[in-house]
Symmetry: C3
C-alpha cells in the first residue's frame, strides 16, 4: 500500500483531508481510515456501490449511509475495511470542514523496470533522444537514467504526433507497456510536462554521467611517458560513452594507414559493444557508429561536406541527433580547422586523438577533447594506436585479450622508437606474435586498406588485424598471403623505379636520391607514390648502412620526402619555399624525417632544386637514423 | 435511408418489384412499404425471423404469415415498420406477379471518405498507380479523384494477386477499410472491372486536371519581358502537379552552378510539399522526387544511362511508374537530344526550363514543355532561378516568403544585366539581404556545390541558400564562413596563376591573357579550371578598367574563354575551327562573352593559336562590358 | 490411423506393451486393441473419463472399471472402440507384466506440406541456411528436401535465440505453423537435435542433389567441337542450382564486353527464375544474385577486396552464407589467382566459364569447376556467350525462345570464326535477326556498357540484348538508336585519330600503324582507347584489303595491339620484352592477333620500338586474316 498521500494533511489542524483519486488510480493508493470523494455507480437493496476512480470501487452498506442517493451522486466516504478478496467497505462521512487533495496514481517506472510492467499503464520521464515519423505512429526514443525505450504516439496515420516536442526535450510519457515485434514499447496515451524539469534533467545528467564513467583499467605496459595521457584518454572515454548514452551517433574519421587502423578498429569494436549494451535495437551499432578512412593527412572540405550532409539527412530521415565527430590519427593541425569551423555551425562536438605535430591554438577552439602526446612534451613515438587500445579498454575492458598485439603493430607501422616498444613487442610475443608476424600484419593492413579505397571493410580488416576475429588460422593465413602480395608488389615497383633513381652526394655528405614516381613506376596500383618512395628510401638506407640518406619521390605536382640521419625541418623548409617562390603554390608539411610538399606542376623543377639546396645545408644527426638498421 | 433502388419498378406497370438484397447490404438500403425476398433463419412461437441479407433481418409475426415455414424456407415480405431500436417488422406477401431486382449495397467511397469508413466494406474505383509485391500481399496504390489509397490483395504469400492488373489500369477494389500500422488501407475482397471505363477515366482525368491547376500567383516583381513566360511556366506547374497526382516520380536534373541551384532548390521544396500533401506515405517525397546536379552543360549519355537504369529498377522493384524528367538551367540544346532520344524509347516525359541559347527544332520533338526566354525574343538575362522561383510559387504559394531573395542571387551568379535586377535586389533588401550578402550566398553555394560533387546535399544547400532553413543565424554564419573560404581559395589560385598569365595586345586593341590552368594552378581543389579562368579574367578586367579584355584558360584538351567588351561569337568560332582544323576534334560552344572549347591534346597549340587569330578580328563592343565595373 | 508404434512390442514375449502418449499426441496415434496409460480427468455416475494426452480422452464405463478412481488417478486402459463421432471407449486392464513405450506424436512435416498445417504444431528437420536477428525474434531459414521455411525463435526482444545454432547446422524445429504477413513461418517452441544427423544430412544432400540435377536440353545447334564441353557445363549448372537450393548467394563477375554480356545476361535470367522458384521471399532473386561487370581482363585485387567485403557484411548483417563466385568470360588465367587465393581463405567456392587462353595449373587449385574450350583442344572461337546460353538453358529450358539469337551476337562481338557461326546465324535469322541486326546489337551492348561503367544496368541491358524484354519494338528501336550513336562516336574518333596515324612498312611486308590514342583522340568518351585502336585497325584492314596489317594504339603507359594476317605471339613478345628491358615494368598478354601491354611511362618509346622490331620478324599468316573481309 502506497503511503504516498498519507500525512499530507499536516498543514491543516481542524479540517479533515478528503482525497480525490485521479481516474487512473488503482487500489494500491487507498488506506483504511482515510477519507475519499466518491460517486454512486449503483444502488442495490442493501446499500450503494461507489467509485473512487475508474478502478477503485466498493460498497457503502445501507446502515452506513447518511443520505439517500441515486446513481451519479457524490458523497464522502471513509475506507473501513479491505477484505481478503480485495473488496472495499466504506462508511459515509459528512465532515463539517474538509479540504480536498488530489491523489495521482504513482505509475512512475524507469525504463529498466518496464519488462515487469507489460500491459500496465505507466509513466516514464526522460529526454527525447530521437523522433521518427513512420507511416503510422510517431516513435519517440526516450532515455531515462536506466535506458532508452521507444514510445509510440499516434495522431493520425503518418502525421506527426505531439508536434511541439523536439529531440532534447524532457517529458513524461504516459501509456501502456507493450511488446511490439517482441521489443518493449510504450503506447502513448498522453504526454505531460515534467514537474521540475531542471531537477529531472540534473538527475538524468548525473545518472548518465555516472553511467558514462569509464572503466579503471590497468595499462597494458608500464610507461611513465604514457601515464600523462591517461587522464585525457579517460575524459575521451567518458565523452564517447556519454554520447552513446545520449543516443548521439558517432562518426569516426581515421587516417587510412596502419597506425590509423590500429587505433580505430579496437575502438570501433569497443563502441559497438557498448552501443549494443545500451540500446534495445540490434541494428543500433550499425546506425550509430560509422568508421571512415581518410586518405588525406587532414580533414578535407570534401569529407566534411559529405559527413555533414549525411548527418543532416539522418537527422531529417531518422530523427537522429547530429553526430559526434571522432578524429583518430588525424585532426590536430591547422589544416583541419576549416572543416571544424563548418561543423561548428551545427554545434557538432569534435574529439581528437592524434600524434601528429599539433597546432593546439588553431584546433582547440573547436574541439571538446584533444589528446596528443606533444601537448605533454612527448612526440609521435606514442602512436595513436597505442593510445586508442587503452582508450578502447577503458570503454570495454573485455576486449583486452584480443588487442594485446595491436600497440606493437601500430608502433612498427609508424616506425616508433618509443621506449615501450620492447614491452609492447613482449606483450605481442605472449599473444603468439613475433616481430616478423607484426610487420606482416602491418603490411597486410596497408595492402588491404589500399584496395578497399574509401570503404571501411570492417570484417576483412578485423580478420587481418586479428581483432574480433573468430578464426586465428584464417587470420594468420590471410596475413601471410596479403603481406607476401604486398612485398611482391613493392619489389615489382622497386624493379622499375630503382634503375631510374638519380644519385648525388650533398655538401653535408648525405646521399640524395631523386626518382620520378609517376613516370617510372606502375601507376594506380599498390604501392602508391608515397609508399613507393619509402620503399626506395629503405632500400638505399640498407645499401648505405650507416650513412645519411635522403630520398625524394616526385610526381608532376608533388614530392614525397624521406630522410635518415639528417635533420630536415620540413615545415620550416616549406615556409621558406613559399616565401622564396611566390606563384609556385608550395604547401605541405611533415616531421623532421618524413614529409611531403605540393606545388603547381609548371614550377616543379625550380621547387625541387631549391629544396635540394636546403637539404644540402641540413645537419647530419645520428639520432635520426632509421629503426631499419636497429637489429 | 438510401433511395438507391426506390422507384426502379417504374418500368413495369402491373408487376410488383421484389428486391433481392446482396449479402453485404445493410439496413441503410431498406424502405418501409417495399417488398423483399427473405429467408427464414429462425422459428419461434410468435412467428419467424427472416434474413434479407447477412446484416438485415427482422420478424414476421405469426399473424402476418400466410404459410408455415421452416428454417431455410424462402418467402416474400413487405417491410412494415422500422422501430426506434432498429428492429424491422415485416408482413408476408404473395404477389401474383412480380419481378425481382438485385440491390447492391452502395458502399462506393472516395479515397477522401475512407477515414470515416474504418471496418466497413467499401468499393473504390480508380487508376492503379503502383503495384508492389511484398512477401505477403500485393499492394496496389489506387488513385481516384480525391487521393491515393493502398489496397492489399492476397493470393498466396509473396505471390502476385490479380496478375492481370497493370499500372495504369482502372478497376474497382472491393474490401474492408483497415488501419495498417496506422495508415488506412483496403483489405481487398475482390476486384471488379469498372462499368464505364471511358467515362470513369474521363471523370478522373477531369478531376485530376482540375486539382493539378496551379495557383494564380502575383509575380514577385513587375517585369513585362518576363510576363510572356508566365503562361509557359503555368503549363509546367500544371504538368508537374499532375505528375504528382498521377503517382509519377519526378527526376530533376539541374546545372550544378549558382543559377541552377537557385532554380532547383525552391522547386524541390514546392514539389516535396505537394507530394506530401497528396500522398499518405510520409516517405513519398523521398521516393518520388530526386534532385541531381549535372556537372556538364548538357545531359550526358552517362547521366541518362544511369537515370534510365534507376528508373527501370524502381519500376521493377517498387512497381513505380517511369519518371518525368525535369531539366533545369540545362536541356535546351541539340547536345541534349541523344539523351532525350534514349528516354523517348521508354515514353518518359521531359520538361525543360532553361535560359541557355536553345535549339528548339532539335529539342522540341522530345519534350512536353520547353520554357526558355529566347523562345520569346528574350535572353539569358532572365535566369532559370528567376523563372523557377515563380514556378515554385505557382505550385506552392506558401513558400513565397522564404524565396524572395533567390531571384537576386540567381541573377548575380549569372551576371544578369536584366532590367528587373534592381527590383529583385530591392526585394532581397526587404528580406534583409544587401547585395554583398547575396554575392556571398552565390559564392557559398558554388563552393559547397564543388565539394558535394554529384551529391545533391539538400539540407546543407537549403541552409546555405536560406530556403527551408529554420535557423537564420546559422544560414548567415554558414554563408559568411563558406564564402570567405571560397574567396581565400580563389585568391590562393590567383597567387599561383597570375604570374604565369601571358599578356599580348590584339590587333583590335583587346588585351589577351592566356594561362595554363592545369600546370599553373592547384589541381583537384576549388576553384576548378573554369572558375579559375573567370577569377583571372575578373582580376584583369578590374586592372584594365574600361579596356576590352579576353582571357583563355587552357588545359591539355580544353580551353575556357571569357571576354569583356569584345563581341566573340563563340559558337561561330567553333564552327570555323572545326572546318579549318580537321582531325583536331574541336567542339564546344557558349555565348557572346563566355564559352569553352575542347580539342585533342596533340593539337592544342594549333587550335589555340587559330582561336586567338579570330579573336583579334572580333569587334569591340562597349555593350558587352562586365557588370563588375557597374558600381 | 498411424501404425507408428504398433508392433513395437515384438521384443518382449510375455509382457504387454503399454503406450504412454506424449502430451501433444492426437487421436491419430491410437489403435483399437492397444493398451495405454491413462489419467482420470472426471468421474461421472456411469464411469470415469480418462486422458491419454492433452487431446486424447474417452470413457471407461463403470462396468469396465476394475477399481474405484478419483480425478488424477492413473490406470491402464485398452482402447475398445472408436465411434463414428470420434468418441473413444476403453476398458481398464491390470496386466501382470508390462513394459511402457513412449509415443511421440508424429507431427513431422516437410516444408512443402506446411501450407496445409497452418495452426498446427509441427516439427521440421533441416539445415539452417540463414540466421537473421531482428528487433524481436531471431529468424532461422531452414531448408529440407522440399523447400525453405523461416522459423522465428524468441528469447528476448532483439536477443539471439538458440545461440548455439549456426548456419549449416542440422536441427529439428518444433513449433506452430503461422502466416506472418501472409508468408508461412514456424513460431518456434523448441529446437531439438536431429536423431541421426548423418543420415538426415545424407538424405537432405541426396534430395538436393537430385533436385539440383540440370535439365537435359538439346543443344541449339549441332556442333561436335562444342559437345565435349557439355558435360562440363552440366556440372556447372548443377553446382549453381545446388548453391541456390543451399541458400548460398551467387556473385557473378563478367568481362564487361559484348561476349561477356551475352554470357551473363541469359544466365542471370535463368538463375533469377530458379531462385524465385525455390524461395518464398519475392526479394530473394535480388538478395541472392549479383551481376557485376569487370573492366579489367582479370579479377583485380580491388574487385575481390570489394566483393569479399560485401560478402562478409551480408553474412554479418543478414546472416547469409558466403557466396559462390561465378567468373564469366574471365577468370582462366594466372593473373586471377591472387584474387582466388584471397577468397580461398574464406572457403568461397569459385566456378569459371571462360574462353580466354587458360593457365589451368595456376587456376585449378582454387576453382570448383573450370570450363574452357582450350582444355578440350578447342579455342576462343567457342565464345563464352555460346557456352552460357546452353548453360542457362540447362538451368531453365523455358528461356530458350528468348535467347536463340544470343550465341550469334556473342560470336560476332568476339569475331569468332567458329564453324558453327553459320548455324548460329541461321538460328538468329529464324528469330527475326539478320547479321546486320546482330552486329547492331553488339555495338549497342558495347555502347551502353561503356556508359553504365560499373553498373550492371540489367533492365536496360535486357532491352538492348532482347532477352527478357517484353517489347520487341522498343528493343529494335533502342538497338537502332544506340548502335547508330556508337557508330557516329566511332567515326568521330576516327576523324581525329586517322590523320595522326603513322605508317611504315615492316621487313616482313606488314603495314604497321602507330597512333597516340591519348593525345590524338577524344578522351573519357566512347570509344575508349582499346576500341579506338580496333576501329583504326579495321579501317586500315579494309584499306589494304588482303595485305597484312598491324596497329598499335598507345597511351603514356600502355599499348593496344591488333594484327591481321600476321602471327604475333603476343604472350611470347611480352616475355622477351620483360627480359630485355628490365626496369621498364612490362606486363601484358593476349592472343595471336590481339593483345595489350603495359610499361612505365618513362620507357614508352624504348618499349614500343623494341616491340615493333619483334613484329617485323613475325610470320605472315593468311589464316589469321580478319573476318571483316569475309563477305
Amino acid at each position: 500500500m502506497s503511503p504516498s498521500h498519507a500525512g499530507n494533511d499536516s498543514g491543516s489542524v481542524s479540517a479533515v483531508t478528503v482525497y480525490d483519486l485521479a481516474p487512473d488510480c488503482t487500489a494500491d493508493v487507498v488506506e483504511v481510515g482515510t477519507h475519499y470523494h466518491a460517486t454512486v455507480n449503483g444502488v442495490v437493496e442493501y446499500g450503494v456501490f461507489v467509485d473512487l476512480s475508474d478502478a477503485v470501487s466498493g460498497l457503502v452498506h445501507d446502515s452506513e449511509l447518511e443520505g439517500d442517493y441515486r446513481v451519479g451522486d457524490a458523497l464522502i466516504v471513509r475506507l473501513e475495511e479491505i477484505r481478503d478478496n480485495g473488496d472495499l467497505g466504506f462508511t459515509e462521512v459528512q465532515p463539517d470542514d474538509y479540504r480536498t487533495e488530489i491523489v495521482e496514481q504513482d505509475h512512475g517506472a524507469t525504463v529498466a523496470e518496464l519488462g515487469d510492467a507489460v500491459g500496465d499503464t505507466v509513466h516514464v520521464a526522460g529526454e527525447i533522444v530521437q523522433i521518427r515519423q513512420t507511416g503510422g505512429p510517431t516513435i519517440f526514443q526516450v532515455r531515462d537514467a536506466t535506458g532508452v525505450v521507444p514510445c509510440a504516439g499516434f495522431e493520425e496515420a503518418g502525421v506527426r504526433a505531439y508536434p511541439d516536442l523536439d529531440v532534447g526535450d524532457l517529458a513524461r510519457f504516459v501509456g501502456t507497456v507493450e511488446r511490439h515485434d517482441g521489443s518493449l514499447q510504450i503506447e502513448v496515451e498522453r504526454v505531460e510536462s515534467v514537474d521540475d524539469p531542471e531537477s529531472v534533467r540534473a538527475d538524468l545528467d548525473d545518472a548518465l554521467d555516472e553511467a558514462a564513467e569509464p572503466h579503471d583499467t590497468e595499462p597494458l605496459v608500464e610507461w611513465p611517458a604514457f601515464d600523462q595521457l591517461r587522464d585525457d584518454l579517460a575524459a575521451v572515454a567518458k565523452t564517447l560513452r556519454r554520447a552513446i548514452l545520449d543516443g548521439r551517433p558517432i562518426r569516426m574519421r581515421h587516417h587510412a594507414d596502419g597506425d590509423g587502423m590500429c587505433a580505430s578498429v579496437p575502438l570501433q569494436l569497443a563502441l559497438e559493444r557498448y552501443i549494443a549494451e545500451v540500446n534495445e535495437d540490434p541494428d543500433a551499432p550499425r546506425h550509430l557508429l560509422r568508421r571512415l578512412p581518410s586518405k588525406a593527412p587532414f580533414y578535407e572540405m570534401e569529407d566534411v561536406t559529405r559527413d555533414l550532409n549525411f548527418a543532416l539527412e539522418d537527422r531529417e530521415r531518422h530523427g537522429q541527433k547530429l553526430p559526434l565527430l571522432l578524429m583518430l590519427d588525424n585532426g590536430s593541425t591547422e589544416e583541419d580547422t576549416p572543416a571544424y569551423r563548418t561543423l561548428a555551425e551545427y554545434d557538432i562536438p569534435i574529439v581528437v586523438v592524434d600524434h601528429h605535430h599539433p597546432d593546439p591554438e588553431a584546433v582547440e577552439p573547436y574541439v571538446e577533447e584533444h589528446v596528443n602526446p606533444y601537448l605533454h612534451g612527448e612526440d609521435y613515438r606514442i602512436t595513436t594506436g597505442m593510445m586508442c587500445v587503452e582508450l578502447a579498454r577503458m570503454i570495454d575492458p573485455d576486449l583486452t585479450d584480443s588487442v594485446r598485439h595491436v600497440p606493437a603493430v601500430a608502433g612498427l607501422c609508424d616506425r616508433s622508437r618509443a621506449d615501450a616498444m620492447d614491452d609492447y613487442l613482449a606483450l605481442a610475443r605472449e599473444a603468439g606474435y613475433d616481430e616478423d608476424d607484426l610487420d606482416d600484419i602491418g603490411e597486410a593492413l596497408d595492402y588491404v586498406a589500399f584496395w578497399l579505397r574509401y570503404n571501411d571493410g570492417s570484417n576483412l580488416v578485423n580478420d587481418v588485424l586479428g581483432v574480433d576475429c573468430d578464426d586465428r588460422e584464417r587470420h594468420e593465413e590471410l596475413v601471410a598471403f596479403l603481406s607476401s602480395r604486398a612485398e611482391r608488389d613493392r619489389d615489382r615497383q622497386l624493379d622499375v623505379t630503382l634503375s631510374h633513381t638519380e644519385h648525388e652526394t650533398l655538401d653535408n655528405g648525405a646521399h640524395l636520391y631523386r626518382v620520378d614516381v609517376e613516370n617510372h613506376a606502375h601507376r594506380f596500383t599498390y604501392p602508391a607514390p608515397g609508399k613507393t618512395t619509402g620503399a626506395i628510401h629503405d632500400h638505399k638506407v640498407r645499401e648505405h648502412a650507416g650513412d645519411p640518406v635522403i630520398t625524394i619521390g616526385y610526381g608532376p605536382d608533388f614530392a614525397v620526402l624521406r630522410s635518415d640521419g639528417v635533420r630536415l625541418d620540413i615545415p620550416e623548409m616549406v615556409t621558406q619555399l613559399v616565401e622564396e617562390h611566390p606563384g609556385a603554390g608550395v604547401s605541405g608539411g611533415g616531421h623532421l624525417v618524413v614529409g611531403s610538399i605540393k606545388f603547381v606542376s609548371g614550377r616543379r623543377e625550380e621547387v625541387i632544386d631549391a629544396l635540394v639546396e636546403k637539404m644540402a645545408d641540413a645537419n647530419i644527426d645520428e639520432e635520426l637514423r632509421s629503426t631499419l638498421l636497429r637489429d
